[in-house]
């Protein structure tokens, strides 16, 4: 049977406020246990929550960026359950009337035929809530330690509709969202520190069926790779059960990355009744039009708009334009480079996505930490475009620039290493004449129809000039001479 996988994601983004969502304690990562837990965070008797405006503003920012409705009033609700790292015995979250309702995100993928395809993933909602603390099971023999530093950290839970049909789409959506929340500066996106974590709702159904299958929720996937593998494993598991005539139990599952499998955490029957009700300590949140407009005015141009403008202005493909708008820093880098070389946008794009990104990736650096500045890169690309160096030689020059040689000045590196390309027509004619004279056999082979002999002659010419001969000219002159 042909199966269709249906995926919806719930993404918890930790908002980048300095203080917690309902208290004044700091949110910084890595402090000594309970050093950042104040009276409100540890839920002393009598303490009360006070909403952090910065958290609300960040939620509005996301809402505007995904074209959602901003609810006013918006209601905070208590989600009641007992756990030692949940100090109040309830989590303040939102149930009915979240700050953000609806909206959508566009993802771009390359399909198996190499074609770009764009898809819109609808969002259900995004709501504000507080994070819980952490239970520490190691280090304490027969006991559990509780660290409440994280308790009260603001989260925006972004919930999608079940619009994704493959793990690749889910990853593309998660990456697009990850890039968006950093773009609009509401979340640092640090997945190791748990600032961006996904729950995936996965179900399968016979291809063409209308009705959704029974879903399982996989909790706490904190990398794109785990997201992909967990979905693939889970979809396969469900298909196997159904093909064997079984039924899927609705349940919450955990992904074990060591074993690459998901396993039951709790079934729907064990699901707790959270007894949501409006938190009487927090009045309904009114968000004025005026506030929304002020937030809108402060938003940067969004990646989608930027992507379109790159496509229109520079003739870039949607995929390339998407890669260059993955982060604001990346877009800035591209724009600062292309500004100096407006006629060579495609060359700039290729180099940034190729050499620059490759080097950054290898050294685990951010584009903001790139040792080669946009101006320096433009200096090198200028020499490619005016034929001073070949693309291949330019890579060596770039390596030298990366190492900081000659203050990253491409011209000085080319000069000092003698890498300038030989483009003088007379000089090349003379070079080719010498090569042809020295290799009568290859010349004869070529003329007898052995095309490969031509490449060998090109290679000899390049070798003789240590790669400096302009390859296009070498090709042209060789062809001319051989057909004479």
């Amino acid at each position: 049977m042909q199966w269709e996988i249906v995926i919806g994601l719930e993404v918890h983004t930790q908002l980048s406020t300095r203080s917690k969502i309902f208290s004044g304690a700091a949110t910084a990562f890595g402090a000594a246990p309970n050093a950042q837990a104040c009276a409100v965070d540890i839920a002393l008797p009598g303490v009360l929550p006070v909403l952090n405006r910065g958290a609300v503003e960040r939620a509005i920012r996301l809402g505007l960026a995904v074209g959602a409705k901003i609810n006013s009033p918006s209601i905070f609700a208590r989600k009641n359950y007992f756990y030692p790292d949940l100090p109040k015995g309830y989590q303040i979250s939102q149930y009915e009337l979240p700050v953000v309702a609806g909206g959508s995100v566009k993802i771009i993928q390359i399909d198996s035929n190499g074609n770009e395809c764009e898809k819109t993933i609808r969002l259900t909602r995004a709501h504000l809530e507080e994070d819980a603390g952490k239970s520490l099971h190691e280090d304490f023999q027969g006991m559990t330690g509780i660290d409440l530093n994280r308790a009260g950290t603001p989260l925006l839970e972004i919930v999608s509709e079940p619009d994704m049909r493959s793990s690749a789409e889910a990853v593309a959506f998660a990456k697009t969202l990850h890039s968006l929340v950093r773009w609009i500066d509401i979340c640092d996106g640090n997945m190791q520190e748990g600032s961006f974590r996904c729950d995936a709702n996965v179900s399968v159904r016979p291809l063409g069926a209308d009705k959704l299958g029974t879903r399982c929720e996989i909790k706490n996937l904190n990398s794109f790779r785990f997201l992909e593998k967990a979905i693939d494993y889970e979809a396969r598991r469900q298909m196997e059960i159904l093909e064997d005539g079984g039924t899927i139990r609705q349940e919450t599952r955990l992904y074990d990355s060591d074993k690459n499998e998901t396993r039951t955490m709790r079934s729907k029957e064990d699901a707790q009744d959270y007894r949501y009700f409006p938190d009487p300590d927090l009045l309904p949140l009114e968000i004025s039009e005026d506030w929304i407009e002020r937030v809108r005015a402060m938003l940067p141009q969004l990646p989608e708009a930027k992507r379109s403008s790159y496509m229109a202005a520079y003739g870039l493909s949607a995929y390339d334009a998407g890669a260059l708008t993955a982060t604001r820093e990346m877009a800035d880098y591209f724009e600062n480079t292309v500004k100096l070389l407006p006629a060579q946008a495609k060359l700039c794009a290729n180099w940034i996505m190729g050499e620059v990104s490759g080097h950054l990736h290898k050294e685990v650096l951010d584009i903001a930490q790139c040792p080669v500045s946009p101006a320096q890169l433009a200096g090198l690309l200028l020499r490619i475009s005016d034929g001073i160096v070949s693309g291949k030689t330019a890579k060596d020059v770039f390596d030298a620039m990366w190492r900081g040689e000659c203050d990253g000045n491409a011209d000085i590196i080319i000069e000092s290493k003698g890498l300038k390309q030989i483009s003088d027509a007379g000089e090349i004619e003379q070079l080719i004449a010498g090569i042809l004279a020295a290799n009568p056999q290859q010349v004869a082979d070529y003329r007898n129809g052995k095309e490969r002999a031509f490449n060998s002659l090109v290679g000899q010419a390049m070798k003789a000039t240590k790669g400096k001969a302009n390859p296009a000219q070498v090709n042209e002159v060789l062809k001319k001479k051989l057909t004479e």
């Binding site: 002393l44 008797p45 009598g46 303490v47 009360l48 006070v50 007894r275 009700f277 300590d281």
Partner: protein
């Protein structure tokens, strides 16, 4: 403090030569004048009241904690303030604090075994205000456990006795505060009122008490029972004293999101206004079945007195009054069930000495730490919030709550103030209703609606019923009309002396 068997008539071991009976009945303003004139120091005044507390408390059990050292140190600070000319109206005056207000360095139990080991590391907003005013904390008063009760019998620290009759309850939940003021162990006290917990004990103990408009007094540091209903307020002998207390207690607090940001008021400002033309609304639903004859007589006499003062009366209707108790006993337990979840034995408070795993620890700690009434309300609240019942109970109750508030809005279109009995009967006997929760809940029949509507409500002494137990007159005002309510009460207290009467046996 647990009570000791001193018998019916408490022996008085101390010398009242300085703190004469007259001074026991002194108003806060009079005490303030004495302090300012250096006729008495705060240390002396505090010492005298402490002596009285120590003598009377074993029989009345009004206080859970007294700490002479801290109280006298605060009195010294107050004396220094007075000496340096920084005195404010309450500087140097001993005030009893309900044990629901977190008080730094003080055991703060909320009347529960659950918090019987909890020394608060911080001060409630209200406590901060009293400290800033230079008031002296004379002790933490007994109360129904987590403010759940109308008789003070649910306290882990034992019941409080009514100073008018030691076999009767003082009311609750602020029974310790009411008793402390009625027995003149403190000139004034704080209380909190979720469904009548200031007004009902004030009525039963023959003192004055006001629950302000919801949002006027900070709830920060006031241990939550039902957040949307809880409101702190003063308990004292007279309306004038209440006004002085309110001046200190009210005000915006950024730490309480339900606190109202309003210009500060002087609640003393209108006390002297004549009542000519005041329109008193008498809800017809209040004057039918349920009220005992002696209470009805006293309330009617008070209203006659008001007519003599120039007020007129109009009949108004609060048709949804009868729904107040059912609505309240859905909403208050719902909020309480969640508010009390933090008492889990993990971070502070009672933890069972032995347990086998996490759930066992939760179950045992809470089973041991909470009393029967608290458990009952947690169960009710958990039930009404549960999946499948939420719409039928919680949502329905919220809708009715709005109707109850609309009743008052309609009534206030016809009158300036509403009056009736605070309670259907005078103080009942200890043990009389403790076995019957519904009977107990009915004693808040008249007070609960104001909490549901968020309106201010007040009780002032209006005579005595059978058995010589006090009757309270209930005064309900529109939102933010506390100054007018205090004026109405004060004018009555200018022509009556109920509020300065005290039990004969406590006069030496």
């Amino acid at each position: 403090m647990r009570q000791h068997g001193f018998g019916i008539h408490p022996p008085l071991f101390y010398d009242l030569s300085r703190l004469a009976n007259a001074m026991l009945n002194s108003s806060l303003k009079q005490l303030s004048t004495l302090l300012a004139a250096k006729k008495i120091s705060s240390v002396e005044l505090t010492g005298e009241f402490l002596k009285r507390v120590k003598a009377l408390n074993p029989d009345y059990n009004a206080f859970i904690t007294i700490d002479e050292k801290i109280s006298l140190a605060q009195a010294q600070t107050a004396d220094a303030m007075i000496a340096s000319g920084q005195a404010q109206p309450l500087t140097g005056i001993p005030i009893a604090q309900k044990d629901i207000f977190c008080t730094k360095g003080w055991l703060t139990t909320c009347g529960s075994k659950m918090l019987s080991n909890f020394v608060s590391p911080y001060d409630a907003g209200v406590i901060e205000r009293f400290n800033a005013a230079g008031a002296v904390n004379i002790g933490k008063t007994n109360m129904d456990e987590f403010a759940m009760g109308s008789s003070n019998e649910t306290s882990f620290y034992g019941p409080v006795k009514n100073p008018w009759d030691i076999t009767a309850v003082p009311g609750g939940s602020s029974g310790g505060s009411a008793c402390a003021v009625a027995a003149r162990m403190a000139p004034a006290a704080t209380g909190t009122d979720t469904g009548g917990s200031i007004r009902q004990p004030a009525a039963l103990c023959g003192i004055s008490g006001i629950k302000p408009t919801y949002g006027l007094v900070s709830r920060y540091g006031m241990i939550a029972f039902a957040s949307s209903l809880d409101q702190g307020g003063p308990m004292a002998k007279s309306a004038e004293d209440l006004a002085l207390m309110l001046n200190v207690m009210t005000g915006f607090d950024t730490r309480d999101s339900t606190s109202l940001q309003r210009a500060s008021e002087d609640y003393m400002r209108d006390l002297a206004k004549p009542l000519q033309g005041l329109r008193i609304g008498l809800p017809k639903e209040y004057f039918v079945a349920g009220m005992s004859a002696d209470v009805a007589r006293a309330v009617e006499a008070a209203i006659t007195e008001y007519r003599r003062l120039g007020a007129e009366t109009v009949e108004v209707s609060l048709p949804n009054t009868k729904l107040s108790i059912p609505v309240y006993y859905v909403l208050a337990p719902a909020e309480a069930s969640s508010n009390l979840s933090r008492f889990d034995g993990v971070r502070y408070g009672h933890r069972a000495p032995e347990y086998t795993n996490l759930n066992d620890m939760y179950q045992k700690s809470r089973a041991q730490g909470f009393g029967a009434e608290v458990k009952r309300r947690i169960l009710i609240g958990t039930y009404v919030l549960s999946h499948g019942y939420y719409d039928a109970y919680y949502i329905q109750a919220q809708k009715l709550r709005r109707l109850i508030a609309q009743d008052f809005a309609a009534a206030f279109a016809q009158c300036d103030i509403i009056m009736g009995p605070t309670t259907p009967t005078t103080a009942f006997a200890l043990g009389e209703k403790s076995g019957n929760p519904v009977q107990m809940y009915l004693s808040d029949t008249y007070t609960i609606a104001t909490n549901l509507a968020g309106l201010p409500g007040m009780s002032i002494p209006a005579g005595f019923g059978d058995n010589n137990r006090p009757v309270g007159l209930h005064i309900i005002g529109n939102y933010f009309t506390e100054a007018q309510m205090l004026n109405v009460a004060h004018q009555y207290q200018q022509v009556t002396d109920w509020h300065i009467r005290m039990p004969d046996k406590l006069i030496t």
